[in-house]
Symmetry: C2
Subunit: 395 residues, 2 copies
């Protein structure tokens, strides 16, 4: 594949060949692929912009309450219905016999869960929070920001050998490296597991089975790309855990934006309507089909650029059968996780010289040879990223 | 005033006499005036429902970022502009030389402020958080929920005599009792003050001057009644405090709903347009004029009911000149704060027997003779509240 000809390709269109338009990126600017702003799916929603439009009138959704009859009293019924419908369509999680708790993004629910899973009685020993490296770079700071006596960040789950209760975070597919994960703590102590399933959607990974755990987290941001809405949700089995989470959200922000709920519900309805009316919907109009083609195309171009550069190696992913897409497929993670070849000690600094801004391995609990690169930024950034990587020569 | 004839009055209309419509409340149901859901202003917004409508298309506001050039990177420019325009129109706060920090309601910003005003270095002594009684019932739990080592709830500011740094909360007008407040701590130790100005709007209290403090909190909920949007904001003088608050909001929820920001900006624009085009706007169409008339009418009816019942006494409020309304006016707080007459020890229990659900004094740090009653609930609830109170006879 000749990456340098990307700039000649035609503008993105709703065809089976999700071609990538020309970049207008200035060669003097930094390519910022450090963050995970999921704007890659913007062009899809632009095509459906009117179909997805919401209207909210002056007197609508004024109350703190969304549904006083629901345990999660701030969640509006259309939001609840849309989330359940989406999981039913995708088949990625068992929702039966679970409590659905809505949050201001999954970040808020992460903290709600730490609160809910910690012992209620004050203790001198906070519960230990661990995750296998490389782990999501925000977990540590989000855990320790208020220096709680209830919980504390410890670090690598694989090294955990204390005989004390713990909470293990399992992000699968993982951020930053896209790998599929299971708990790794090897300790006789009592452990609770939070499954962060932010990336368990068909555009990123084959849906191999319906996940069924006690505590599972999802975010709207990485599902459809609407990060600005700050909508996340959790499925939890234990009503006492759900109640404590809802109490946290109450004290933290008195619920979740009703406008965001209405918007998220609408976007999800449009996605699900597409799959429900399969016969009348062109497959290139189906969100996850589009998303997967886009991610696949990006990954192919990116791999070509990495091979040409001979500076980095990439994580290898297995091929699995996707029950949603009904095909054998690789993974196309939202982030690429690069390891420098021998002789380069700091990937982030190295790429900084190429005017590529990334997030270095140390933020993820591993060494600086590793670096995370967003695959879900704007098209311009992505093309420029590939061009700069493929033109890079070993110093 | 004969409160029992309320039911005969005509439906609420946009006239100078903001009459209160008949209640359809079932006599078997509880009247719930325990919470502060500000739905009283709903009928106003219903009249302007189309004028205030927002539309959001499928591809709009997808990013985490609202304005990458602003310190508060998740705030969209229309939100910032609307907040500044509103304060400029009302004249209730000095916004010059302050940093504007947006939050998911003022609840989130309260916690962001505790984090930002606490010492950055870990210490064995959390900073002490105090507020004069009666104080907002959620402060204590919101402060202590995560048992932070950075800060801890102490209680009554008037009793604070430790020689240790502290944060004093000054809510003015106060929730629950509507009084105007200033700091009361009498200690030589270093103190920081958070001014919670949630109710410093012309429908509740005369705007006597432009408040100018280092840290001031506002909420959209109590300003326009749109509690479901979860929008709050703070003006802070010190950039380091602002930066720490923004870091908290980042880790807590990665910003604030863009949909809510667009909605709040629109509502505020409609309010400000009304006052800007004064000549062409009927005064009964002006939000704060309407709001004040509604609150005044409710308070007059409520006082009549309380007088008739001979069970409670009410807080007395001074009359002041309002620079916004350009008249002498009483206060019409969002909550009524009742004290039981001699012989009744528990106001909440007493009212529970009348099928009126309230929040008792102990939640506010005082004794059970006191009780808080929402004045900003639905019209039906309010009428039924007055009817039940005026019919109540001393046992």
């Amino acid at each position: 594949m000749v990456v340098s000809t990307i700039n000649d390709s035609s503008p993105l269109s709703f065809s089976n060949d999700t071609t990538i338009p020309a970049s207008t990126f200035s060669s003097n600017s930094f390519v910022n692929v450090e963050k995970g702003d999921p704007v890659a799916f913007g062009p899809y929603w632009e095509k459906l912009r009117d179909e997805c439009m919401i209207e909210i009138k002056g007197d609508e959704w004024m109350s703190y309450f969304g549904d006083a009859n629901n345990l999660c009293w701030y969640m509006v019924p259309p939001m609840r219905d849309a989330i359940l419908r989406l999981h039913n369509a995708v088949g990625n999680v068992v929702t039966k016999d679970k409590f659905l708790v809505l949050g201001t993004g999954s970040s808020q629910l992460y903290q709600a869960l730490l609160y809910a899973l910690s012992p209620s009685e004050p203790s001198d020993r906070p519960i230990n929070v661990v995750a296998a490296t490389p782990y999501y770079s925000e977990y540590k700071d989000a855990t320790d920001i208020l220096q709680s006596r209830l919980f504390q960040w410890i670090g690598d789950a694989a090294l955990y050998d204390k005989d004390e209760p713990y909470i293990e975070l399992v992000t699968s597919p993982n951020n930053p490296d896209g790998t599929l994960r299971a708990p790794v703590v090897n300790s006789g102590a009592e452990g609770k597991v939070i499954y962060d399933l932010a990336y368990y959607w068909p555009q990123y990974t084959p849906i191999t089975y319906e996940v069924d755990h006690d505590v599972m987290l999802f975010t709207f941001s990485k599902c459809t790309g609407h990060a600005g809405s700050r909508i996340g949700w959790a499925f939890v089995k234990d009503i006492e855990v759900a109640k404590k989470m809802i109490r946290f959200v109450h004290l933290n922000s008195i619920g979740v934006s009703k406008e965001s709920q209405i918007r998220a519900a609408k976007m999800i309805e449009v996605i699900c309507d597409g799959y429900q009316n399969l016969k009348s919907t062109k497959s290139d109009h189906l969100f996850f089909d589009y998303g997967k083609r886009l991610m696949k195309e990006r990954w192919e171009k990116f791999k070509g650029a990495i091979e040409q550069s001979k500076i980095f190696t990439l994580t290898k992913y297995p091929t699995s059968y996707c029950h949603f897409n009904k095909d054998l497929s690789e993974q196309y993670p939202a982030f690429a996780w690069l390891k420098c070849m021998e002789g380069i000690e700091n990937g982030e600094s190295y790429l900084e010289k190429l005017k590529i801004r990334t997030r270095g391995g140390e933020r993820f609990g591993v060494d600086a040879k590793y670096v995370r690169v967003s695959m879900i930024g704007t098209n311009d950034e992505f093309i420029e990223l590939c061009t700069r990587l493929s033109n890079a020569k070993r110093e």
